[in-house]
Amino acid sequence: MPEIKVTPLGAGQDVGRSCILVSIGGKNIMLDCGMHMGYNDDRRFPDFSYITQNGRLTEFLDCVIISHFHLDHCGALPYMSEMVGYDGPIYMTHPTKAICPILLEDFRKITVDKKGETNFFTSQMIKDCMKKVIPLNLHQTVQVDDELEIKAYYAGHVLGAAMVHIKVGSESVVYTGDYNMTPDRHLGAAWIDKCRPDILISESTYATTIRDSKRCRERDFLKKVHETIERGGKVLIPVFALGRAQELCILLETFWERMNLKAPIYFSTGLTEKANHYYKLFITWTNQKIRKTFVQRNMFEFKHIKAFDRSYADNPGPMVVFATPGMLHAGQSLQIFKKWAGNEKNMVIMPGYCVQGTIGHKILNGQRKLEMEGRATLDVKLQVEYMSFSAHADAKGIMQLIRMAEPRNMLLVHGEAAKMEFLKGKIEQEFNINCYMPANGETETVTTNPSVPVDISLNLLKREMALGGPLPDTKKPRTMHGTLIMKENSLRLVSPEQALKELGLNEHQLRFTCRVQLQDPHSDSDTLHRIYTHLKSVLKGYTIQHLPDSTVMVESIVIKLSSSAEDPNTKVLLLSWSYQVIDLSYSQLLLNIRKKLTCSR
């Protein structure tokens, strides 16, 4: 039985360093190649030694697919391709290809230049890695090789995020990456067609949440920002440079405009303008409203939001600062946090998910004393707020996607084990399909049961369709008979006659003849005629012929009669038929003849 194997190297019952290996139809595919924000040691990257102990990965992988530009999905890519070694194709969408090297470079700078780590990938490695990338367009069917094809679908989540359908022969897998089933202020909702994959591998970040309406959350967010500003406090919003940041900027920009607010809004790092430029050039990837109006008014040109300078953090008075990175684990957002943490008038709003081990995660869990590097502790007095703005599907959204794609099996990754367990139960109950949730390094094997595609000769098919009609009668099924010729890689179904002809074979006729003695006083021709008329009256619906050469044919069974030389009343009946006769059994026929002739005696 063919089977599909799925092994998470990362994101198995966990969020972070997404990396999932799939073996399907003899092909090996790596889905995402991310880093873990919560670790600074070996655990930061997926354990590629699982694939091979020694050396390069090229010969073990047919392709690598990156779903979107977040570092927990692409952060280990240069390490994997340049330091472990992989020269095969890497697929990602155009926006991901454009933005991911910038985030990688950012990440590299923080790690190497600021923290002084060595043995890390270099700028050149990022460039070399990106040269191996082949861009994907939405809905385009890309033939990786003769057998393996992939197709990308819109996933929402961030600019350029894609779900990917992987198909070998008639087996298929869909990997969602991170996705969002409700459109937001700048992106549309994920969509997939009813592709009925053998396995749907879905993220499950919000496996147990059903989120209230977006509008409420937006109002809450604006209210909190507004209140803090009113009382003269400072608001820190840690974000990743691309994605949520643009959505929140659009939100604040329109609010400032409406309320005529004067407090400054800053956006850290030089990336802002560049980031907004990406959104302008890839406007076809945003939601319908933005796409429709972009010629008149480009939503990514902000009037109220200005570039941040490090010195502004000490300015008196209220302000709102968007700073990177989003989980307060390093960089500018962490620096500003340290400065503002001591003042209870200030506020930090965490607009997205924080992985374990990050400061973001700690303060969200209510920790008020933080151990910093060099044994210093930091007292957290400012208000900590969490607003779920990250664009992941919630439980309702995940169920909705299952309904769209109709998978035969479900596999959850990118979530916490306990929450997955809950969702797994719900899925199995509602859809009556198996749901798996392997941990990192664990392999889940799913047997598939693909149908076999065959080429049928049009003559045979048309003949059959003409005879049987398009839908078989369940009470009286019509059996079709054909010969399957297997030659090299082709499978062809033809009529047996055609098969004989094609293969240059002679037909071997197998015939049976049966002699039966009967008593009947009539002349030979009379007896035969009586047999004929009798059969004609008894066997309705059969073709019965009386041929001039004194034979009777019932369908293809031949009946001849002769009388014995000694006794003209003893007739010898010869019944002859070929092996293939099925309509009428010989014994049935004989029984009928016997009945007739015996009665007349």
Binding site: P453, L461, M465, T483, L484, F512
Partner: protein, 658 residues
């Protein structure tokens, strides 16, 4: 399989393919050359045009002075311009299932096809094709509607009268089917039927046919189409280009191995080299500006204009045109320039990599930013106050019959300092200029048509090797003006099948196979046996299911178990079990081995008699004869069913079953 040809224009095709059970329209081009027969629509009142004399036949019997005006020896219809539509009578348009659009120039007749005809199908196009197509339609509607003309001339269309008119009106075809421009409402309704597709996306139609667009290299989002089932492949090649301009390069390899290739949209200027024309364009432009004149470039709002602007971007400084204003005037100028920048996926590699930086892919963004290029929706409004001369104006429509270009013709036509440079190949420039004669302004003809020329196409066909080629009849002979140029036609073996307007071609297809799926249970139950080295056969007995044009075979269902309570009663009445058809047999029964087998089964008394064709075995104890021959076995015995069954099975052991 049939092809219905609804347009005779080789670059504005409209064909309908009946393929398997689907009806597919390939493009719906609108032949706009008909507008050349009409008077220009001026934006502001033109005393010259209004004073043109009306036409009266020489003998004075026909007076159409209200409808027809004479200018410089030619007669023009004074009415709202009308277009020549694709043929509507050849087949019922409401039966069309899908329309495949190859590029934005080939969809301009869409509202005529999808509206008011009962059409209920889907239109497939790429996103740039849809967006830019919408802009071009919007522009066309705008050009027509902002200068409404009350008069609708119809008398001249009367067959008797048309016969008496001077050429080219006399020779205009199907004038009674010519139609006025559609409305914006019809455009919106037509375009709401478009479903977007990406290159190499496989779209299933009713389970029977798969269609897929391929990059054709001609314009943003332009595509050729593959229409195929598992065993038949039709390639539809429309406007395609192998030159390196802004669009993604042409996908040639996917066209390979097609049974039929429908070839349309070759270059209309087979003897003009686009690069050379671009050079001429720049030098003429610079010369005129230096001499203090203005340059008028009648053009479409999308397409070659992007390349012209890019060329000028590089040329401006070296030709010291840095201070010359460039104007682009069209109701959709801004949209066209903006849209061009957001289709990175559809651009050539060079432009794509700019987006990664991130920089706009086209340099006209910089021309706009530095105020060298300015765009306006029309000559009214801001333009009239900011307009400086000498300048360069890009504006439509290239037919010179409507749009802002009409105004500039009236404004600049009288001065020999000014130059009009024709770059679009769709209209004869002499015909375009006819209603403006006499003219003093210089005319330069630099038609830039990047579509395939005959040399390129014959090379392409050699590579992709279609079994048959179908093309407009114009491609099967040299152009009438250059009848000696046998290199300006298609010469193929077998010769291409030509079509003209209203042709119905039967495409040479021999369908022999269809795809069917064996369900796993059935597939697992098959027992293959090797007949020859590398060739195995298995007999298949199964039940056929056909649904949505998909066929599957499943195992013969076992008869449902009889409920136990009624069993006794039913045993007798139960009809004989449905018998599986028996396979054909092949091979021969070897005598010695067969005898040995008989022996093993207790049949020992066998008398063998040799005959001309084989042997007769006489089983003496059983009084049974078996006739063994090369291609047949005949078992003759009395009414002894068990024996016959045994013998049958023994014979079958030696034979292959098919």
């Amino acid at each position: 399989m049939k092809l219905y040809c609804l347009s005779g224009h080789p670059t504005l095709p409209c064909n309908v393919l009946k393929f398997k059970s689907t009806t597919i329209m390939l493009d719906c081009g609108l032949d706009t050359t008909s507008v050349l027969n009409f008077l220009p629509l001026p934006l502001v009142h033109s005393p010259r045009l209004s004073k043109l004399p009306g036409w009266v036949s020489k003998d004075g019997t026909v007076n159409l002075e209200k409808e027809l005006k004479e200018c410089a020896g030619r007669v023009f219809v004074d009415s709202q311009p009308e277009f020549c539509l694709p043929e509507k009578e050849l087949l019922d348009l409401s039966t069309i299932d899908v329309i495949l659009i190859s590029n934005y120039h080939c969809m301009m007749a869409l509202p005529y096809i999808t509206e008011h005809t009962g059409f209920t199908g889907t239109v497939y196009a790429t996103e740039p094709t849809l967006q830019i197509g919408r802009l071009l339609m919007e522009e066309l509607v705008n050009f027509m509607e902002r200068v409404p003309k009350a008069q609708s001339a119809t008398c001249w269309k009367n067959k008797e009268i048309q016969r008496m008119l001077p050429g080219p009106l006399k020779d205009a075809v199907e004038v009674w089917t010519w139609k006025r421009c559609y409305s914006m409402q019809e455009v919106n309704s037509a375009l709401s039927k478009v479903q977007l597709v990406g290159y190499s996306q496989k779209v299933e139609l009713f389970g029977a046919v798969q269609v897929s667009p391929l990059s054709s290299g001609y314009s943003l989002g332009s595509s050729n189409w593959i229409i195929q089932s598992h065993h038949e492949k039709v390639a539809y090649v429309s406007g395609s280009s192998l030159l390196t301009t802004h669009p993604q390069p042409m996908d040639q390899s996917s066209l390979k191995n097609s049974d039929v290739l429908i070839l349309t949209g070759l270059t209309q200027m087979p003897t003009a080299n686009p690069d050379g024309m671009l050079g001429d364009f720049c030098s003429n432009l610079a010369m005129t500006i230096r001499a203090g004149g203005n340059v008028l470039v009648p053009c479409y709002s999308s397409g070659v204009i992007y390349d012209l602007l890019e060329c000028l971007y590089q040329f401006i400084e070296s030709a010291s045109l840095g201070t010359t204003p460039f104007y682009f005037i069209s109701p959709v100028a801004n949209s066209s320039l903006e849209f061009s920048q957001i289709f990175a996926e559809w651009l050539c590699h060079n432009k794509q990599s700019k987006v990664y930086l991130p920089e706009p892919p086209f340099p006209h963004a910089e021309l706009i930013q530095t105020n060298k290029l300015k765009h306006y929706p029309s000559i009214h409004g801001d333009f009239s106050s900011e307009f400086r001369q000498p300048c360069v104006v890009f504006t439509g429509h290239p037919s010179l019959r409507f749009g802002d270009v009409v105004h500039f013709m009236e404004l600049w036509g009288k001065s020999s300092l000014n130059t009009i440079i024709f770059t679009e190949p769709d209209f004869s420039y002499l015909d375009a200029l006819a209603p403006y004669q006499p003219l003093a302004m210089k005319c330069v003809y630099c038609p830039i048509d990047t579509r395939l020329n005959f040399h390129q196409v014959s090379k392409l066909l050699k590579e992709v090797q279609p079994l048959h080629v179908v093309c407009p009849e114009q491609y099967t002979q040299p152009p009438p003006s250059q009848s000696h140029r046998s290199d300006l036609m298609l010469e193929l073996q077998p010769p291409p099948m030509p079509y003209r307007r209203c042709s119905v071609l039967s495409l040479p297809f021999r369908r022999r196979y269809e795809r069917i799926h064996l369900l796993p249970e059935l597939a697992n139950s098959l027992v293959p046996s090797e007949i020859k080295p590398g060739i195995s056969v298995a007999t298949v007995s199964a039940v056929l299911h056909s649904k949505d044009n998909k066929h599957t075979l499943q195992s013969v269902p076992k008869p449902p178990p009889v409920p136990p309570t009624k069993k006794r009663k039913r045993v007798i009445e139960e009809p004989p079990e449905v018998l599986a058809p028996k396979p054909l047999l092949s091979g021969a029964v070897p005598l010695e081995a067969f005898l040995a087998t008989l022996h093993k089964h207790g049949i020992t008394e066998v008398k063998v008699e040799e005959t001309a064709d084989g042997h007769i075995l006489h089983l003496q104890a059983e009084d049974t004869l078996i006739q063994l021959e090369e291609d047949g076995t005949h078992i003759v015995c009395d009414n002894n069913e068990p024996l016959r069954t045994t013998l049958r099975d023994l014979v079958l052991r030696f034979l292959q079953k098919l």
